[in-house]
């Protein structure tokens, strides 16, 4: 089994993801250069956090045109697992692989810190390690995490169980004060209709080892590996 972590110019969580997959999960992984035109040989793909192309126009807007994104799109359409984290989330929405868009945080400031998340749906394979309603604790670090989508799109997403994670307080209550960025409905993570493309603003790679203050992110990585072991999705 091998995971591919896409490296865009300006990615800066690429090595963090590589570290977690290799050293914590003990699973093989490579960086995939953004100019690659195919992703054959990888069982799942990760679009890591960072500031691809400086995020100079809109976050993720230039990276979505990287040559590799065509291959990522084909991979996703064939049912391959694609995980987007932070900037990866922004790139996936810009590329139309996930609905909605991510605007400037409502406080107009970058926000770094720990947040609580409630698991809203376990429909996606990425959520298989968690229970419905479970409260997770993860770090966030972003300036553009304010999720928006048209009302009809949102209601379709809710019906399909695509709203995967929402910001909440330590007890699991979804409140405005628990929302770090102004996201509609406190949305922190969403997946596509078939559940194989999933992205979130928080950083599961930053909470996969106890010395870093928590391990609640590990479940996402483990679920990915589990899904690949039980039903290989190689395309």
């Amino acid at each position: 089994m091998k995971l591919g972590i896409v490296q865009f110019p300006g990615s800066n969580c690429d090595h963090d993801c590589l570290h977690v997959v290799r050293s914590v999960l003990q699973v093989e992984a490579d960086l995939i250069w953004h100019e690659a035109t195919q992703v054959a040989g990888y069982d799942a793909l990760v679009l890591p956090g960072g500031f691809s192309y400086g995020d100079y126009l809109r976050s993720g807007s230039i990276a979505r045109f990287s040559p590799v994104m065509r291959a990522v799109t084909d991979f996703a359409e064939a049912g391959g697992l694609v995980l987007g984290i932070c900037n990866g989330f922004q790139i996936l929405t810009e590329a139309g692989l996930l609905p909605g868009a991510l605007l400037r945080n409502s406080a107009l400031e970058f926000r770094c810190g720990w947040v609580h998340l409630r698991v809203e749906s376990t429909a996606s394979p990425f959520m298989a390690s968690y229970g419905h309603g479970q409260v997770l604790r993860m770090p966030v670090a972003h300036g553009d995490g304010n999720y928006v989508a048209d009302p009809d799109v949102l209601s379709r997403m809710r019906d399909n169980g695509q709203v995967t994670l929402r910001y909440c307080d330590a007890e699991g209550n979804v409140t405005p004060t628990a929302n770090p960025n102004g996201s509609v409905d406190n949305i922190a993570g969403v997946c596509n209709e078939s559940g194989n493309v999933f992205a979130l603003m928080p950083h599961p790679e930053r909470c996969a080892e106890p010395e870093l203050g928590g391990v609640d992110g590990l479940g996402i990585w483990q679920a990915m590996v589990l899904a690949l072991t039980s039903a290989p999705l190689r395309v």
Partner: protein, 736 residues
């Protein structure tokens, strides 16, 4: 050789910030009058910023040797220390005060860019940023604008390049109103054998310029930093940073460091191509021949003078093996970077600048590199008589200690800085074990059991009241902060922010502070491996407080057991390590509650300091204590409250010591650390402290949800928490 003084006017000299006698010295050494390009190059290299004219003789007082030192102060772009496991840590602090005063966002952002380049130019991967900031008081709209702009500029640049900003400090005092301080520190890590030097060696090797195209940015930036009141004069030197380009440069240069194509690498900072080529040639004991017509320019018709002095950001000079140019260009180009061959290494020791076929400048590198130095006479500032005469007894007794504690907790100097550091990505790179908010940040070192601790500290108020003592305290406090997380200090970097050194009282301050720092470095066995000097920090003739910032690196053999400042559990005993004093001079309490900055700064017994720190490290390593936090601004009462707030649990403490209660509670006596521990460990802690002659006084216990200090202070923890948490936000929300 005859020389006529009329060849160059006073105005010409002013433009390049050279004195008439310096000009004469240049003519004599050169054996002729310099042309305009050459004069500009001398002006930049002999500026305070590049040439350390006033500070170099004083910097020699600082100890620079130590068993961990791999590259010492002044040798390279940054110092390097051995942290074991075959690894070196490279670190340095730098100021960007003057640009930030006119364009806070971009000024601070480009400051980050500059210090980061100093680190990866040595081949090291930058793994942490810290920053130390000073502003005027937040009741003024301009100061709020500067504060917000600087913080968001740091956030913008640091986050984009993916280096965690794990610590720093922010303080406010009216002397910084026209002249904020923006000091940034960067820490990098590298296998020792891969350290890259900034040297031009090997005749025939090639100079390649990579990164941003050159514009007319910041011409005279280096000399700009040597003038007071920059706001009025050199507005044009402010630049826009490009963190994306910087990120590409980091990755490409680190990749290049893995090859054997590189001979040397040097960033372009102050004085741009001039300083980088001169330093590379001088340190490599060779010469360089540069053709400015090959330098890619962003603007039309740039002259050799402008190209040599431009301070355009995000550029690097690579000295590469002859024949490897195409391979090097290919690495850069994969990262989307443009590189150009601009010259070669020569053997004649000359810095030769060509513009196509014409020679635009030709100067021996050592002449440019060896700026004249000035040893001046310092005289004690007049104000010291008055401040030293101050009698703390003259202060009115406090009526309401609760109110005073709440006011201190809410004062922007003491209150939580979370509203600042939550704008910095402090967890990227997955090494952050303790982020901002504690006494020191702790990072793991992947692949080893070891940890690194880093901090940056300075107290201008103390240095103003007592330059020597304040200098010593700056070093001692940084080391104490490391001790509180159990780390052994290895080395320090520093940034000396002062007024105009040509004034005798400012020179006195500079001299005193450096001597004090040196004394503390000796006592604590912490050498200085790098630093930066920022002089001429004045507004309308008024200097800032003498403000040295000390950035210190420490090592933890193991991340376990780990200690923070937070009280851990009810029932723990609270003890004070170190002597209790009733001194309140120079304290935040006197400044905030009584509105005066006066008295003597706290005194420091360096010998006691060393032993207190050693005991603190020992009891942390032995796993005996639950928390440790040093007493600094706000004294014992504030230290206790901060530990309680962080732990979410209250305390009951009897005020230790004798004397005035306000001084006992809020005085800033040095060498004190508040620890909490399970009662059963008390005997062991006492024994270890006793062995080293360190007082260890049980003062109370962790309990309940109230803050209780004798019969003077009693309040719900929630009230203390609220005051402390919202202090800065409330000060910012003021409109005025």
């Amino acid at each position: 050789m005859t020389r006529t003084d009329t060849a160059v006017s006073d105005a010409d000299l002013r433009e390049v910030s050279l004195t008439r006698s310096e000009y004469e010295r240049i003519c004599n050494q050169l054996g002729r009058a310099p042309n305009r390009v050459e004069l500009g190059m001398f002006g930049a290299m002999w500026s305070e910023h590049c040439g350390y004219k006033n500070s170099r003789p004083l910097l020699k007082l600082l100890p620079t040797d130590g068993k961990h030192v791999l590259i010492g102060a002044g040798e390279e772009n940054a110092g390097a220390v051995d942290i074991g496991h075959g690894l070196a840590v490279v670190f340095k602090v730098e100021s960007h005060n003057h640009p930030s005063a006119v364009e806070p966002f971009q000024g601070a952002a480009t400051g980050i860019g500059g210090i980061v380049r100093d680190i990866f130019t040595m081949g090291a991967r930058p793994i942490a940023l810290l920053n130390s900031l000073r502003f005027g008081n937040l009741d003024d709209a301009r100061n709020r604008y500067l504060f917000n702009g600087v913080v968001s500029g740091i956030s913008h640049y640091g986050n984009c390049v993916g280096i965690p900003d794990v610590g720093g400090e922010v303080n406010f005092a009216s002397c910084y109103a026209g002249n904020p301080l923006v000091n940034a520190m960067c820490v990098g890590i590298i296998p020792q054998e891969k350290l890259i030097r900034a040297r031009a060696r090997g005749t025939g090797n090639t100079l390649m310029l990579v990164g941003a195209a050159t514009g007319r940015d910041g011409i005279h930036g280096a000399s700009f930093a040597s003038l007071d009141d920059p706001e009025l004069s050199h507005r044009g030197v402010v630049q826009v940073g490009d963190p994306f380009m910087e990120k590409l440069l980091i990755e490409a240069c680190l990749e290049l460091g893995e090859t054997d194509y590189l001979v040397g690498l040097q960033d372009l900072g102050a004085a741009g191509l001039t300083s980088s080529s001169v330093e590379a040639a001088h340190k490599g004991e060779s010469g360089v021949d540069i053709d400015v017509s090959r330098v890619p320019c962003r603007e039309e018709a740039m002259t050799p003078y402008e190209i040599m002095l431009s301070e355009s950001q995000e550029r690097m000079l690579a000295i590469v093996r002859q024949g490897a140019e195409e391979d090097v260009a290919a690495i850069f180009s994969r990262w989307g970077l443009h590189s150009t061959v601009i010259g070669r290494v020569t053997s004649d020791g000359m810095v030769r600048v060509r513009n196509g076929t014409e020679v635009a400048a030709e100067i021996p590198a050592h002449l440019l590199a060896d700026a004249p130095t000035y040893v001046r006479n310092g005289t004690a500032p007049d104000y010291l008589q008055e401040t030293h005469a101050f009698q703390p007894e003259s202060l009115p007794e406090l009526q309401d200690y609760n109110k005073a504690l709440l006011a201190l907790l809410a004062s922007p100097n003491i209150a939580s800085k979370e509203c600042v550091f939550r704008q910095y990505d402090y967890s990227v790179q997955v090494n952050t074990v303790q982020g901002p908010g504690g006494d020191a940040a702790v990072l793991r070192v992947k692949g080893t059991p070891a940890g690194l601790a880093v901090t940056i500290d300075g107290n201008g108020q103390y240095c103003y009241l007592d330059p020597f003592g304040g200098g010593a305290i700056a070093v001692a406090e940084a080391a104490r902060n490391l001790a509180c997380v159990g780390a052994e200090p290895l080395a320090l970097t520093n940034c000396l922010n002062f007024g105009n050194p040509e004034k005798t009282d400012v020179y006195y301050q500079l001299q005193g502070v450096i001597r004090g720092m040196a004394a503390a470095c000796e006592a604590l066995s912490v050498p200085v491996v790098s630093g930066n000097v920022s002089l001429y920090n004045e507004t309308r003739g008024q200097p800032i407080y003498p403000t040295p910032m000390v950035g210190m690196l420490g090592k933890l053999e193991s991340l376990q057991p780990s200690t923070t400042l937070a009280f851990q559990r009810e029932g723990d005993i609270i003890a004070l390590l170190g002597p209790q004093t009733d001194h309140c001079g120079g304290s935040e309490y006197v400044a905030q509650i009584h509105g005066v900055v006066t008295g003597r700064a706290p005194s420091i017994d360096l010998d006691m300091e060393v032993r207190v720190q050693s005991v603190c490290r020992q009891i942390i390593r032995a796993g005996l204590i639950s928390s440790a936090h040093d007493c600094s601004q706000g004294g014992l009462a504030v230290a206790l409250a901060e530990s309680a707030i962080a732990g979410g649990v209250g305390f009951q403490v009897d005020i230790p010591g004798e004397g005035r209660v306000d001084s006992l509670l809020f005085g800033e006596g040095q060498s004190r650390i508040v620890v909490s521990l399970p009662e059963e460990n008390l005997a062991a802690v006492r024994a270890l402290a006793g062995d080293q002659g360190v007082p260890c006084t049980v003062i109370g216990s962790v309990q309940g949800d109230a803050v209780v200090l004798g019969d003077k202070v009693s309040m719900p923890l929630a009230s203390a928490q609220r005051a402390w948490q919202n202090g800065v936000a409330e000060a910012l929300a003021e409109t005025g």
